[in-house]
């Protein structure tokens, strides 16, 4: 069976691009506001260098956690992309303990 078909893929892309262009005006405005806020916030923030080693250490302390990423590398990526994950770790571990006891 032929899977790759450039013409079909181009038609799908055109349909999807048309779909994304049909956003309600209210959402267009909110997206533009989100972009401006992202530029303002992102330009004013820097990633604290201590977070990744701390997160890696925590992941090695609890490698068996059901809800934790499977590898240390996954954990580092997750914390890099979402530093708040670290703050949620206590909740995740509590949740796991509820599963184990329940």
């Amino acid at each position: 069976m032929k899977v790759r078909d450039p013409g079909f893929e181009a038609r799908l892309r055109a349909a999807l691009r048309a779909h994304e262009a049909r956003l309600p005006p209210e959402l267009e405005t909110r997206l533009a506001d989100a972009r401006q806020q992202a530029i303002a916030q992102g330009a004013g923030r820097r990633h604290p260098a201590w977070r990744v080693p701390v997160a890696l250490g925590l992941s090695l302390l609890r490698p068996q956690a059901v809800v934790a990423p499977r590898t240390a590398a996954d954990f580092v990526l997750l914390v890099e992309d979402d530093p708040e994950f670290l703050a949620d770790l206590e909740f995740y571990l509590w949740l796991e303990s509820q599963d184990e006891s329940g």
């Binding site: 069976m1 899977v3 790759r4 078909d5 079909f8 893929e9 038609r11 799908l12 892309r13 349909a15 999807l16 691009r17 048309a18 779909h19 994304e20 262009a21 049909r22 956003l23 309600p24 005006p25 959402l27 267009e28 909110r30 997206l31 533009a32 989100a34 972009r35 806020q37 992202a38 530029i39 916030q41 992102g42 330009a43 923030r45 820097r46 990633h47 809800v67 990526l77 997750l78 992309d81 979402d82 994950f85 949620d88 995740y92 949740l95 509820q98 599963d99 329940g102």
Partner: protein
């Protein structure tokens, strides 16, 4: 190195697409907007000094991770709420995934667009039902137009994995919606 003006133009160019991609996963405008804004913030925070050619795979790598994390958190929340509901604390309906809440931007569609809208709606359903990695490969390669190497970087996997996931996704998409775009 990209300039601030180039960075804003890049974000303006991808924000609608990124929102629609996030919407496929969240079914919720507020969550999709928050995830897209967060991905944009992190791109600015970390990678504004990179060459502008690097921004697309970097942005989609951040967004992909945020969407995966959002799904993990949602599954956890669902499990917790289900447990609570089993103990009489909440109704199962509260824990169920929300229905899409988007208004139709155009109101009643002109008849000439009905067939196209039916096709895209079915395509979106099919994409929502795909396994996570297949959906990611499809939206990044077909919808966004990243090449295989960029997609592999965005998905944090090998180029071979991208090809495999895309091939499987395209088989399903062609089978399910091929008649709309013969």
């Amino acid at each position: 190195m990209g300039t601030d003006a180039e960075l804003e133009a890049f974000l303006a160019g991808i924000e609608r697409r990124a929102f629609r991609m996030a919407e496929l996963v969240t079914h919720n405008a507020d969550d999709a907007l928050e995830l897209v804004q967060d991905a944009m913030t992190r791109l600015v925070e970390r990678y504004r000094d990179r060459d502008s050619a690097e921004w697309p795979p970097l942005f989609y790598r951040i967004l992909t991770h945020r969407l995966r994390d959002w799904q993990r958190r949602r599954r956890l929340r669902f499990r917790w709420l289900s447990l609570w509901a089993d103990r009489g604390g909440a109704s199962a309906a509260e824990a169920s995934p929300a229905e899409p809440e988007f208004p139709d931007p155009a109101g009643a569609d002109p008849p000439r667009e009905l067939q196209a809208r039916a096709g895209i709606e079915r395509l979106l359903e099919v994409l929502q039902e795909l396994p996570e990695r297949q959906r990611e490969a499809f939206v990044l390669r077909i919808w966004e137009g990243l090449d295989t190497r960029q997609t592999a970087r965005a998905m944090a996997c090998s180029e071979g994995s991208v090809k495999t996931h895309l091939s499987r996704a395209l088989q399903v998409v062609r089978r399910e919606v091929g008649r709309h775009w013969p």
